[in-house]
Symmetry: C2
Amino acid sequence: MDATTAIASDDLAARLRQALGDDRVITDSDGLEPFLHEERGLYRGAAKIAVLPRSTEEVATAVRICAEAGVPVVPQGGNTGLVGGAVTGAGEVVISLKRMNRILGVDAIDYTMTVEAGAILETIQNAAEEKDCLFPLSLGAEGSCQIGGNIASNAGGINVLRYGNTRDLVLGLEVVLPDGRIWNGLRALHKDNTGYALKHLFIGSEGTLGIITKAVLKLFALPRERHTALCVLADVDHALALLARLKARASEAITAFELMSGFALDLASAHSGDAKPIADAYPWFVLLELSGSQGGNALRETMEEVLGEALEQELIQDAVIAESLDQAAVFWRLRERIPEAQKPAGASIKHDVAVPVSRIPEFLRAADAAVIAARPGTRLCAFGHLGDGNLHYNLTQPEGMDPQAFLDCWREMNDIVHGIAVRLGGSFSAEHGIGLLKAGELSHYKEPIELELMQRVKAALDPSGTMNPGKVIGTA
Amino acid sequence: MDATTAIASDDLAARLRQALGDDRVITDSDGLEPFLHEERGLYRGAAKIAVLPRSTEEVATAVRICAEAGVPVVPQGGNTGLVGGAVTGAGEVVISLKRMNRILGVDAIDYTMTVEAGAILETIQNAAEEKDCLFPLSLGAEGSCQIGGNIASNAGGINVLRYGNTRDLVLGLEVVLPDGRIWNGLRALHKDNTGYALKHLFIGSEGTLGIITKAVLKLFALPRERHTALCVLADVDHALALLARLKARASEAITAFELMSGFALDLASAHSGDAKPIADAYPWFVLLELSGSQGGNALRETMEEVLGEALEQELIQDAVIAESLDQAAVFWRLRERIPEAQKPAGASIKHDVAVPVSRIPEFLRAADAAVIAARPGTRLCAFGHLGDGNLHYNLTQPEGMDPQAFLDCWREMNDIVHGIAVRLGGSFSAEHGIGLLKAGELSHYKEPIELELMQRVKAALDPSGTMNPGKVIGTA
């Protein structure tokens, strides 16, 4: 950064302080540190200013001042994203939503909740539960991620099969636009066909079209029963057959249908200290959950029937139905620890792909073969949301290999894995988004006409290009 | 139309014929007639040319030829819309999708169906059912409306409470853009966070951003049981309380929760010849349906329990649970005949409003009082999708009044009813859209900033303004 920029930065900080108050603006390096951190350690932010507004109007003021100065802004939530979507370049200003963390209201008649963008996901889940409601979005980072970031990245998670992606859980939004004006789309309506779907444009745009400041969320009735089972499978094709049977028999009750490779489960078990509920070695495990609001025994009986038939027909080799909430929690802990459990096993190259559900086995066969052919000994740590056609197709380095040497294969592995997913009609980013990390993949895999449409949308809503530049569609 | 335009029109027709073949282009007045018709009789189209392509490429060719000639095009599906969204102005060209009516594939493993835009909704429902699947979109016009129009207008209907609006039922789209290029977004993925939600921009844009030519639809398991009840209520507040109980006890099973005023049901009964299942006069009726894929008796028992408790506590005055599919069909026929049954009762002024579910009673009290104060004797034919907060707040003229005199109050009544809905945080067009009919309401009720965002989107995707001009956001 040269002297001119440094002076401009001081000047900008002074203007922001004057407009918002000293405690809203951070410029010291200790204070800035958390805003420069990036979850995966792939990037490091370079901002010299972070603004922490306490209201939508303060966000609007900060954005307006930056826009007038021609300075790009980068919105930040809990900073738990996995694609570098909140990383700042030199001279860019962080706008953190962390102080706008209030639950503004829970309406148990309407089954809606109004929140500020900085509210922590877990706080929202708890606030819903207190009113006998469910906010179903659930994912690994829920203790620290913020709802604004979940919405901006259209987060997925473990309950999408039943309740949809974050997009499906948002009724209304308030957004600060790139010029600092406020769009009030904070409606609590299930039906509203009055013009273009602006709400959906902002959802999943990763802060490149505006800063989400408030949202109206959709709640559901709290299930009165929940049944969790862990199944053992010899073949991933059988997982599809099991899912089909469950859909036919208990469609609306299937809350989760998660696939885990035997290797992934072994890692998680070793890492968490939880014994595997089924000790033998098997190639695949499915964690499934049925839940319902009726109570009674019907759902449990259905689960037992379907699993019993599946055992008889050797679709599954074994199954354990959790007999307590504690046991169900162990099953889930094993599933959720997988990403972390990969760390002690060495370097990892991770993918977040989706294909049509029916093509999951084909994807796995093709990707496994191609990966092993390219780098023999690579350990396949595949797991994820089979019911949504979404796999975290993660690769753990061969034993004894130099970690950096494996990481140097990142590009090569991405090309193999994303190429196969796209060839099968799939996506190279199912739920994590694009950010900086996959902006190159976006321009590589998307047809020129789709890229052009996205660029036109970006230019229409952020003509000066100061809203989280370089993310999603890259630098215009 | 002056001579120059007429010549241009002949010339354009010749160019279209040359490119597409004679049988693709209609210019004779008998042939054009169906494309100039407008469902409500409020408008009449003025096009001299209708193009009936048989493929996406033919749509693209037609659009490109028109775009090069600077001639606006108006996409048409089944022409059953209620807001004049497919009406042509002089010199505009109809592009009808009726010949692109194929089901391209049903995948019962993926629970998806790929269709051409001109496929009739009922044909799609049946094709799903043949594979033991459900396509849940259901509305009055299903025998003639086309899926492309349903998607372009984000149709609602009777199953939104459980399955969402059309938007929620579409996984992928193929769209011919205003310049005649083709966007291939025909993906069958449940998760795909790769850039801006272009799909959602086209859904609900009423043909003003492009012409939808194909879609991948989301299917569900066919329910194995369905229980339908008609309840009698003394007070509309009780309907909310009944809905809350059902949500707590059978949330995921509630397929429909429809409100009908006593007057609306009387009209429908007189018109259809079906006796009312409950003979006495009551102010409100609720038609509710639970469905599930488990089979067994649990859901029926839950319905009986909830209705039994509601009777005891006088939330409902009476209830009939349909004992056969035939009886359930009678209940539904009464509900579905209401709009048609209004015709013999004289002139009608219709509204399609939404408010947060909890504010339905407040809306009804305020609107009833204001309407009666303005035009005493007006008969209140309110009915609709209470579970979604969506009412068709229809008004039937006072007995003996001159029909035209009542229709002259259209503007006044709209102002009253839409004003109250918007004041309660609601929408003046819940599921019918904007078209020509409500373009004025859109510019009246939307904040300038929202209108500006929509205009920017329109200009970005249809810079020459030739795609269904004047609809939704009016003439730029």
